[in-house]
Symmetry: C2
Subunit: 333 residues, 2 copies
């Protein structure tokens, strides 16, 4: 295993320390328990939004802490759920008087631990709501999941709900909004290569010379099938159509098209996939109104791509366009 790390046990700690040193104007870091939070938290009169999950998917979630997105992020060890005390302490640090929204990807450990944290906070009179993201159309149940896995729509939900919280949405309206984003978003990914969790020291799975995993999970969970690699145009179809048919996205629908690198994919490949997706959506009469292309929800150095389509309405477009200032997403200010 060749990685730019010191001790395996310190990977997540040192990485978020580095993030804190790099962006002191945006965020602060708590090491015990471990969470990253807005430098200006608590923000008075605003619902606090918190997310988290296993590390190794960066920039998600700690890279999304800042104005217009998350108030705090709770990173677990690599591909391991954070513990309830992380979310509990983060919420105590960042909440003001308007309550807390937990945005939780649908993995059993995450769901359980965010629920436990919510219960602890509620018992102290703090208003907390959990919304689960489960947008991955690849499989119904998975290695660490009851139901569908939560993937790319999480990034979009965090941006959109973050903007709404800045605009003064109440907790109950944010819950409704976050559920709408989840219900409007669908994703699917594929892997060309596996990745290596530092603590394991070897690849999480193996793929043959010409083989890819279609419907890969962000922890390397098996997808729909292993197939021989095809052209980028064909592979984009194999991701796009299951997504389109699932919602379904229909002629005239407005969408945000999100093409996400699994981590190690060169940009030239990502834009070849975007080109293919653009042609598919054009053919289907689906209108790309907004796009996001790059590394946002990753699996360490895995090569591959995921596609997320989010159906848009005027409310979602307005919130998407609202200013955001985080390490990984920044515009409008």
């Amino acid at each position: 295993m060749k990685k730019l790390i010191n001790n395996v046990a310190d990977v997540v700690k040192e990485s978020i320390e580095g993030l804190g040193l790099a962006f002191p104007e945006l965020l602060k870091v708590s090491l015990q328990p471990r969470y990253v939070y807005r430098a200006d938290a608590p923000v008075k009169g605003k619902v606090a939004i918190i997310s988290g999950g296993g590390s190794g998917h960066e920039p998600m979630h700690a890279g999304f802490v800042g104005y217009g997105m998350l108030d705090a992020a709770c990173p677990g060890e690599v591909f391991t759920s954070p513990t309830p005390d992380q979310m509990y302490e983060a919420a105590k640090m960042v909440h003001s008087d308007k309550g807390v929204l937990f945005i939780v990807k649908n993995y059993s450990g995450d769901v359980m631990n965010f629920e436990m944290a919510a219960d602890m906070l509620k018992s102290e009179g703090i208003d907390v709501e959990n919304v689960i993201i489960d947008d991955d159309v690849a499989v119904e149940n998975s290695l660490y999941t009851q139901g569908r896995r939560g993937v790319g729509t999480t990034v979009l939900a965090e941006k959109i709900c973050g903007a709404a919280a800045e605009k003064g949405y109440e907790l109950k309206d944010l819950v409704e909004l976050c559920r709408k984003v989840n219900s409007y978003g669908r994703s699917m990914g594929l892997a060309l290569t596996p990745c290596t969790v530092p603590a394991a020291g070897k690849s999480t799975f193996e793929l043959a010379e010409e083989e890819i995993e279609l419907g890969i999970g962000i922890h390397g969970e098996p997808g729909r099938e292993r197939i021989k690699i095809k052209s980028a145009n064909e592979l984009t179809e194999l991701l796009a159509y299951p997504i389109i048919r699932d919602l379904p996205f229909e002629k005239g629908d407005r969408v945000l098209a999100f093409v996400n690198s699994m981590g190690g994919t060169p940009d030239i490949e990502l834009f070849i996939v975007y080109r293919a997706l653009h042609k598919i959506l054009e053919k289907e009469g689906i209108i790309i109104e907004r796009k996001l292309i790059g590394r946002y929800i990753t699996s360490l150095e895995m090569q591959g791509v995921s596609i997320t389509l989010l159906k848009l309405d005027d409310e979602l477009v307005k919130l998407w366009d609202a200013p955001v200032r985080t390490p990984a997403l920044r515009w409008g200010m």
Copy 2:
């Protein structure tokens, strides 16, 4: 070779088509000859800034086309210089009445072809100046280079000169500024893994299980030496001190610290390197005033990192902070 491509011959063409489809509000694409240019070009009363080079280093350069940075970028085939007609036609398209600055990385093919394009344009009465970036301290001559290679400082020069051009700098002042940036910037990189050029179909070089290449070039050119992998803290020292001693950067100097992924490096590793660099600079009394961390000048899917330090003065800070709106760098508007 597993890549998200269609035909090997179409990789660059389809990728910049994808870029054009993704960012029509920022840029347009010419396929014959091949260049990417600002959607609002020519911008009246502004010097036009053009760069280019082999593809495979994305987002550099096409991802830097837009307000506050480049007017045009000329992508060659992967790791292959663009031809003079690309720069010639791009300059004809984007220049107004204030002349053209070519920012050229120091590789023999690039230097020669940008010079030929400049000569063609000058013979038509268009004012053109070439500034060469040669900031890589790893080696003095290299596989494709007389003198030092041009690497990370190129990104910073394009941002800073782009801002200055927006503010109305004349061509001669831009040349002076670009040379100052080059003289104030120093870089060095390392590779954990090689990368595969699509047309070659196999790795550009091989590294053993525990081996890294210290001083790697962005096309996989040999560096200073191959060594057994060390800790991130030690490796960061092996990059930082040759850079610091070369300029030299001295106690009290203000710098922009740029930690760049060679392409496939996970964020958690990049921030561990940033943390180590922060501690080194702190120890040396060098003040980090600005930072850039991420994938900006890459070598396809190569895992590794490069560090660039740029000495700052008030002029450079002001220009760095100025608004920019491109696919890959965007702030302040």
